[in-house]
Assembly symmetry: C2
Homo-oligomer: 219 residues x 2
DNA sequence: CTTCATTTGTGAAACTGTTCACAGTGTGAA
DNA sequence: TTCACACTGTGAACAGTTTCACAAATGAAG
């Protein structure tokens, strides 16, 4: 039986929170804490104890009553689950303002390796930024195959994003993180995560403004 | 009756999609299209016709059978709802790599006005970046009050984010867009949107890798 | 050894968001 | 003017997620 039943599909929200827990647990461990209760982790994550327990239950991790969860074990568990990221090499496409900021942001954070960057502009290629070599887009397929890259990060203008995505898919990438303000069409089964900055700001503006109105109307 | 019943709380997901529809509709209008069907908009948004119709129903907008939705009307409707953003001034805190990229990204996109930026480092203050003046953090309260800023964007290192959030709240901001990899604690009623780049990449890496495994196990 | 306080694990309820399916309707064609 | 079609609007089913509430387990204290 090579198929562990634990390996069922974990919902995206849960994966997101696990990523957060990992960071928090790393900090706690660095501070010398050994054990943690669901309510403590919940406070750090700005969540609820129930939610934390449910998430840990989802990944099949157990604590013990009265003692809580052993941080080192829990951390190992979560890292084993997610951060094959360690084994996952990533490619960045688009070395503009945003691309460079992304590179800087992820540089030297543990579980990520940017194995290559790509840009159309010749003056950007050939250099090494934050430990990541920049190639011309024409070499994308070749480099992605050679470096065993499974994830692509798109940080190009909206108009070029779909084309880049197509190239990435063709090159064999299995997941895409897209910063361009367009929805990407990809073959079924491929995973795409959109980070839509415009949408994010619109949401904040909407709710912030709504509050102002409620305040006004309650005079 | 000053309270329009339409003004009920619209769920965050819907607001997000409306933001997307707005962009798509703007493009369509620029191309000279006048009318659009739910299934067309759905294809552009990589969504479903049902979802589109439900969203427009949520904001109380009606089309007509066989004709679809009139783009100009729909756009006006959505903009009237969301993009009080036009009236909402925004402040950026943290003018590092990410902060500058954010500024560049939003600069000259219609419904956003970055009225001020703040940074601790003296060598960054006093300049004007992408049409946005940079002040020292000590002047935050004053500038935010003067410029009627209601939204703050946080792009500082994790360790400083909570402190900055507290200052923003104190200065009277009503919504926060947070790029720092920490969960912020704010008074109830204030809106916070987190853009967690680490989490986003973890999600992609997880699902991308899972795919690889499924492929392998199905030999 | 027993009791008590505390925390986990989890079935079930409640809630939220999405999709279905079809009645109703305006439109263009004849 | 009538007809048939292709669309919208929406109640209701469905799916997914979060929260509740409580039994079971554990360690500490007496």
């Amino acid at each position: 039986m090579s198929n562990k039943p634990t390996a069922a599909a974990i919902p995206g929200n849960t994966i997101g929170r696990l990523s957060l827990y990992r960071r928090l647990l790393q900090e706690l461990l660095a501070q010398g804490t050994r054990q943690v209760y669901s309510h403590q982790l919940a406070r750090l994550a700005v969540s609820t104890p129930s939610q934390v327990r449910r998430d840990l239950m989802t990944i099949g991790f157990s604590g013990s009553p009265r003692r809580g969860y052993t941080i080192s074990e829990l951390l190992a568990n979560i890292e084993g689950l997610l951060a094959r990221s360690i084994e996952t090499s990533v490619a960045l496409v688009g070395v503009g303002n945003l691309g460079r900021a992304i590179l800087a942001y992820y540089a030297n954070r543990q579980p990520v390796r940017f194995a290559a960057a790509f840009d159309r502009a010749p003056e950007k290629t050939g250099r090494i930024l934050h430990g990541c070599r920049c190639y011309p887009v024409s070499e994308m397929a070749e480099v992605i195959a050679r470096e065993q890259i499974h994830v692509g990060v798109i940080a190009v203008p909206a108009a070029e994003a779909q084309g880049v995505a197509d190239q990435l898919v063709l090159a064999g990438v299995r997941g895409i993180l897209n910063f361009a303000p367009v929805r990407l069409h990809v073959p079924a089964g491929l995973y795409v995560e959109h980070v839509d900055l415009m949408m994010a700001l619109d949401k904040v503006a909407y709710y912030a403004h709504q509050q102002v109105e409620q305040q006004d109307s309650s005079r």
